[in-house]
Subunit: 367 residues, 2 copies
């Protein structure tokens, strides 16, 4: 996997990532398709919205239909009819947030999955094996992500395990086909020294890319900003940097300015299912009575299929009835909003105008 930085503006970078399923312009946002399906959009609609990469969750796919089933039907891209680049997470985050964890030991984590209750044992080696079956272009190391409020000792112990597991994932991956990339994940919660230690340990293992994990797991926005600001520069300059599971449009803008290249978040799709649309003026709840009868689109000037087709008043009508298409229409808009935001950030970096452009793209944080 080749990553080329084409331009810089402050700490922000614009680049190109080459994957087996195509070239990706950075910085970029990955649309979340948990069970190999983006809720509300077909692959063609995703492509037309400007989607470059789809992320799927290893945990969900490993439970159903099973990673072998995805492999047997030709791998993730073919399985979901999305013929572009893909990424899978390690499944670790869901194990700790969704499943009933039985035991975390040096070898791995034993848990009952939250879907059918079956007991599973996830090790660094099985995590890589499962992701190889699923076949995404980018795989992630199995890590331990403690709650933001855990104490320093607990964070340090988790970190040691994360590093040991990263080394074993790296070894397991070395034995694989080599067609898929594997990223290391820096942890360390809010502690700058632990984040530094984590970045150094993982950098020494020489991964094709690096992620900042354990962000937006319960901490306040200023803490999110602070951690991203001090962690991003600790990661190798020449490799892609991925801020996992973050966040609001304002988070993305801040992340890009801190030097992050890759993002993913359920926010555009999940908020759509709660009738919240993102606009340049901030979020909008489409059930609000003030949208009744409004003839203009959700966002003036937006080029998405929703804003080109129907009015805000119409989407509000569907939202009031909990019609299936309310979610679908808002998802189409939100995904395009996120992707366009990244396109505009990239253009601003290429033009050396990021300081000027960034504040116009979304309202500043309310603090």
């Amino acid at each position: 996997m080749k990553f080329t930085i084409e331009a810089r503006d402050g700490r922000a970078r614009a680049g190109t990532l080459e994957t087996p399923h195509g070239r990706v312009s950075s910085p970029f946002f990955m649309v979340v398709g948990t069970a190999a399906s983006v809720k509300g959009m077909t692959p063609r609609q995703l492509r037309e919205a400007g989607t470059q990469v789809v992320l799927a969750n290893t945990y969900h796919l490993a439970v159903r239909p099973g990673s072998e089933a995805v492999r047997d039907i030709g791998g993730l891209a073919r399985f979901m009819g999305w013929h572009g680049p893909t990424l899978t997470d390690s499944g670790g985050f869901q194990v700790f947030s969704l499943a009933k964890v039985r035991k975390i030991g040096p070898d791995g984590v034993r848990f009952n999955n939250h879907i059918d209750g079956r007991e599973l044992f996830l090790t660094p080696e099985s995590c890589v094996g499962i992701q190889e079956n699923i076949g995404a272009d980018i795989m992630m190391c199995l890590d331990v992500c403690p709650p933001a409020k855990a104490d320093r000792d607990a964070i340090a112990r988790s970190l040691a395990l994360t590093h040991a597991w990263a080394g074993r994932c790296r070894e397991a991956w070395r034995g694989g086909t080599g067609r898929q990339a594997l990223f290391g994940i820096v942890q360390g919660a809010l502690f700058e020294d632990l984040r530094r230690e984590s970045a150094e340990t993982l950098t020494a293992m020489d991964f094709p890319g690096y992620a900042i994990g354990g962000v937006a797991v319960g901490e306040d926005t200023p803490d999110i900003r602070r951690v991203v600001d001090f962690t991003a520069p600790l990661l190798p300059d020449a490799k892609p940097r991925y801020l996992m599971g973050v966040g609001t449009p304002a988070d993305l803008i801040a992340g890009v300015r801190a030097g992050v290249d890759m993002f993913d978040c359920v926010m555009p799709t999940r908020h759509a299912r709660h009738f919240q649309a993102f606009t340049r003026e901030g979020p909008v709840n489409l059930k609000n009575a003030r949208h009744a009868g409004v003839e203009r689109p959700i966002e003036e000037g937006c080029d998405c299929e929703c804003c080109r087709s129907v009015s805000r008043g119409y989407v509000r009508h569907l939202a009031m009835l909990n019609e299936l298409m309310a979610s679908v229409w808002i998802t189409i808009h939100n995904v395009r909003f996120y992707l366009r935001l990244m396109e505009e950030l990239r253009q601003a970096i290429l033009a050396g105008r990021l300081d000027e452009v960034a504040p116009t793209l979304y309202p500043p944080d309310p603090f």
Copy 2:
């Protein structure tokens, strides 16, 4: 509204219907978009699937957002972002099937709607007025549709009211803009003499088109076939004939052979939400274990976005998880299946090969 018959094959007809929103080739199937939204498809996806006409339900739109709201936002086609032809029913069927009816009198029907319980009074005149607000290309007369099991006296009384109301709708419509067409609805349940009386009474009123109502309201399939067979030829030959709310692919084939030009049914969209797909071999339940891992599409040779994009095994995976896109994918397929069925029936009529082609399009009824 101009209707031209281009070819005949037995009693079947292939023609063209000209509406203010465009030309429609018949016979045709109208996709149901109850609240001005086809559950699971955007207008663009509808157009690409070959949709010619979308049907919306007056009852639902009159309750929410109200017919004036639809009018104020530019009428149904603009409201829903579907710029092709549309039809609205009278709302009567839903009043009798969904609402709590308080009183049916000579003037109209008083009921509490099932959504917010508000009491409403629907008269022939208000029914036309509401539909004029909504602005579909084709409107329907307010009729009374008794249950299939009602006795002959009840049917005859309902029929007298239906005829009186048809006359009043006709009068109310005469005072309108004239841009929208109004169809009369023949009732009479399973009684051939009542159907004949109804057809004669309504024909004398000279509507732009005629519907067969009160079919598939609880009676058995042989009765549906019998009523359609003897009623269709009673309707004026030169006008479009519409079989309301029917039905299975086999029902559509039989209807076309009986001389019907227009159909609508919730079946392709509603069954999709219960994971049932229509294929040339009959219906298929995609939750069935036999579809697990199957790499071929829902239907070989189908040109829909679903069958061109993803496998049967993948849709089954989504169905097992009750993923939003399971319904969407199957809806896309089912709508295309219905529309393609009608296209193939039309081609067969034009080629004079209906007897030969019809049996190949769907399995015969199981009786």
